[in-house]
Amino acid sequence: MKNALGSVDTVLLLGGRSEIGLAIVERLVRAGARRVMLAARGGTAPVDRLRKLGAEVHLADFDAARPETHAALIEDAATRLGDLDVVIPAFGVLGRQAVYDADPVAAARDVAVNFGGHVSIGLAAARRLREQGHGTLVVLSSVAGVRVRKANFVYGSAKAGLDGFAQGLADSLHGSGARVVVVRPGFVIGRMTEGMSPAPMSVTVDTVADAVIDGLRSGRRTVWVPARLRPVFAVMRVLPQAVWRRLPR
C-alpha cells in the first residue's frame, strides 16, 4: 500500500535489467519499498544492490514478445509480492532505422516488443490494479513518439502507439483508484543509446529516475524529462511537414 507520505511497499519491474527501470526501483526501495520483483528474459537480473538496501527481491522469467505468458506473470507477481503498488514495464529495443529498412521482419518483431508487449502486459497489470483499487503503472514512452521522425520512424511509431495506449488506459482507469503515469524522456545517455551522439537537451538515467519519482509523488499524469521538452515539443508538433522532414536527426 502507498502510505500517507507517498512511499510504497511493492514494485514490479518488467525488463528487469533496464538501466532506467533499475534506477527507479532503487529510489523506491530507498524510500521504503520492501518487496521487489525483477522480471527479465532468462529470469536473471542484478539483485545485490537492492538486497543490500534491505529489499526482498524476487526474480521471474519474462519475455515481452510472448504475450500469452503475461497474465500469468502478473498473477505470479501478486502472489509473491502482495498488492502491486508500482508496475514499471521498462523493456524496449532501439534498432537502427537502416537495419529495419533492410529487414522488415526484424522491424515488425521489435514493434511487437515496443508496442505489442506493452499492450498485453499493460492490460494484464491494469486488470489487477483495478481490482486492488490502487497502484500505479509507469509507462516509459518517449519524445520519439510525440512526433515521429524519419530518422527512427519504426521505433518512433511504436512509441507513438504506446503513448496513445497509455493515455487511453489512464482514462479507462479513472475513478478506479489505479492510475497511469506516462513518462516522455528525450535522449537518455545510457546503455540503450551507447555509441550514438547525444541529441540536444539529453539527460542521464538518474535524471529520468528522479523525474519519475517526482511524478509518482505529485500525482502528475505526464512527466517530460527534461521538463522543458514539453514547450519544445509544443512547437515541434506544429512545424510544417516540409521543415520537419528536413531535420537532420
Partner: protein
C-alpha cells in the same frame, strides 16, 4: 465504489461501502465479500488507513445502534457497537454516570473504542478502554456470533485488534458514577521540558485526568514549555451555586464548521506560531479549581466540525509514540529535533501512561506518550519520522495504530512483541482471511 480516507485525509482508496442496519445484514455482507475481504468502520476518526479496504468491502457500523442498557446497580452499560461516545454521554450524564475512558474526541463509536483500545487523559490511573470491558459480542468471518469475556484469548486479540478479528456488534463495560457534568481543573504553565516532566512525574497521580500541551515552536531555554491541565469530575459542592440546580446538564454547544475547502498553506509557521504563543500566553501561570464543562476539558477540538480540513487537501499525519519510563532522553531528542526543525504541529500533546491491557496489539504501556499533527508536504518529513521510528524502537517504544498512516511493516514487527501470537489467534478466528484493511496490508498483519 466510494473513496475513503481516515481523519488525516491522506491515501484515499475506493471500497464498496455499505451500512448494515442489523447484525443479520452485516453477516450477509460478510458472506458476499470477495477476495479483497471486508473490514468494519466506525466514525472514521482513526487518522490513517485502519478503516479502509481498497477494492473490498467496508461495513459502516454506525447504524448498529439498536440497543443500549444501563444498570445503575452495577454501573454496567451494554451498548451496540455503532453508538458513539457522544450519544452515550448524552444518555449517561443526566443519570449521573460517565464513560470509563474518552479519547480526545467523543465522536468515536464503541466498536472503534474497543478495536483501538483507546486511551484518555486518565490512562495513568484507569488504563485503556479494554480494561473496563466485561464482555463483547463478535461477528466472525463464518457469520456466527461469539460472546467473549476477558477469559477468552480472542477477546484480547479483538481489543486493540483494529477490526481484523471480526465485527464487534455489542460491548458491555463498566462506567463511573459522577455527581456533576463539570470538571474541576488545575491549570499550570511550565518553563521547559524538564519542568514539564518533573511536575507530571511528581504530581500526576493526584489527578484522575491529566495532559500537557507542548509548545513545539518554543526553542532554546524554553524548549518543551507546556500548559498542564489536570483535573477530576467536580463534586456538587465544588460547583458555583448557580450551577448546582442542574449539576448534570450536558448540552455541548452546536458546532462551528470549517469550510469544505481551505487553502493548503493556511496552517504555516506564522499562524501556528501565533496560535501557540497565544495559547501559552493565555494560560495562567497557575490556576486552581477552574470549573469546566466535559466538552471543553476533554474534547476541545470537537468544537469545530471537520477541523481536519484546516490542513488543506493534502491532509496531515499524526505521529503518536510511547516510550517506557526511563527513556526520557528519547523524548527530549524528539522534542528538540522538532523544535529545531521548526515543524508546524498544531497540537502536540504529552501524557503519562499507566498499566496496559492484555490486548496483544494494544498500544499503551507504562511510559510517556507524545502525539503530534504534521501537515503533509513539509520538507523532509518522511526522513525525520523514519529517524524518530529508530529512536522509538531502540528505546523499547512503539507507534499507535489508530494514528499511524506511514510506519513500515518492519517497525510494526519489531515493536509489537506479541504480533505473532495475535496472528495465530486471528488465523484461527478468520482462517480464510476475510477481514482485511489497508492498514493490515501495509503493515503485513
Amino acid at each position: 465504489m466510494t473513496l475513503l480516507t481516515g481523519w488525516g485525509r491522506t491515501a484515499p482508496t475506493p471500497a464498496r461501502l455499505s451500512r448494515p442496519r442489523s447484525v443479520e445484514e452485516a453477516a450477509a455482507l460478510l458472506r458476499a465479500a470477495t477476495g479483497r475481504g471486508a473490514v468494519a468502520r466506525g466514525l472514521g476518526r482513526s487518522y490513517g488507513d485502519a478503516a479502509q479496504n481498497s477494492g473490498g468491502v467496508v461495513l459502516d457500523c454506525t447504524a448498529l445502534t439498536s440497543s443500549w442498557a444501563h444498570d445503575p446497580a452495577t454501573g454496567l452499560v451494554t451498548a451496540s457497537a455503532g453508538m458513539s461516545l457522544h450519544d452515550l454521554m448524552t444518555e449517561l450524564l443526566p443519570r449521573g454516570w460517565f464513560v470509563p475512558v474518552t479519547p480526545g474526541t467523543r465522536h468515536v463509536t464503541v466498536g472503534g473504542a474497543v478495536a483501538a483500545d483507546v486511551h484518555g487523559k486518565n490512562h495513568h490511573v484507569d488504563s485503556s478502554f479494554g480494561a473496563h470491558v466485561r464482555s463483547l459480542t463478535l461477528l466472525t468471518a463464518d457469520g456466527t456470533l461469539r460472546a467473549l469475556t476477558p477469559d477468552d484469548e480472542l477477546f484480547w486479540a479483538t481489543v486493540g485488534g483494529m477490526g481484523l478479528t471480526g465485527v464487534v456488534v455489542e460491548a458491555t463495560f463498566a462506567c463511573v458514577p459522577v455527581e456533576t457534568s463539570r470538571m474541576w481543573v488545575d491549570v499550570e504553565r511550565t518553563r521547559d521540558l524538564d519542568e514539564t516532566l518533573e511536575v507530571m512525574t511528581a504530581t500526576d497521580d493526584r489527578y484522575r485526568y491529566t495532559v500537557a500541551w507542548i509548545d513545539l515552536l518554543a526553542r532554546g531555554g524554553r524548549m518543551g514549555r507546556s500548559v498542564l491541565t489536570r483535573g477530576d469530575h467536580a463534586r456538587r459542592d465544588e460547583l458555583p451555586v448557580r450551577m448546582r440546580r442542574d449539576p448534570l446538564a450536558f448540552a455541548p454547544r452546536p458546532r462551528l464548521a470549517a469550510p469544505p475547502w481551505v487553502p493548503g498553506g493556511l496552517l504555516n509557521r506564522a499562524t501556528v506560531g501565533a496560535f501557540n504563543a497565544t495559547w501559552y500566553g493565555k494560560a495562567p501561570a497557575a490556576r486552581r479549581g477552574l470549573v469546566q464543562g466535559i466538552a471543553p476539558f476533554f474534547h476541545p477540538l470537537d468544537g469545530v466540525a471537520h477541523w481536519n480540513r484546516m490542513y488543506g487537501s493534502r491532509g496531515f499525519v499524526q505521529y503518536q509514540f510511547v516510550v517506557p519510563f526511563g527513556a526520557e532522553e528519547t523524548l527530549r531528542r524528539v522534542v528538540e529535533r522538532l523544535s529545531n526543525a521548526g515543524v508546524v504541529s498544531f497540537l502536540t500533546v504529552l501524557k503519562r501512561f499507566g498499566r496496559g491491557t492484555p490486548g496483544m496489539l494494544s498500544f499503551p504501556m507504562p511510559g510517556w506518550t507524545l502525539a503530534l499533527d504534521i501537515p503533509v508536504g513539509q520538507r523532509g518529513l518522511a526522513e525525520m519520522l523514519t529517524v524518530f521510528d529508530e529512536w522509538v524502537a531502540a528505546a523499547g517504544g512503539r507507534l499507535y495504530l489508530a494514528k499511524d498512516s506511514r510506519m513500515p511493516a518492519s517497525m510494526m514487527a519489531g515493536t509489537y512483541p506479541r504480533l505473532d501470537e495475535w496472528r495465530a489467534i486471528r488465523d484461527r478466528a478468520d482462517p480464510e482471511g476475510v477481514f482485511r484493511s489497508d492498514l493490515a496490508r501495509r503493515l503485513c498483519l
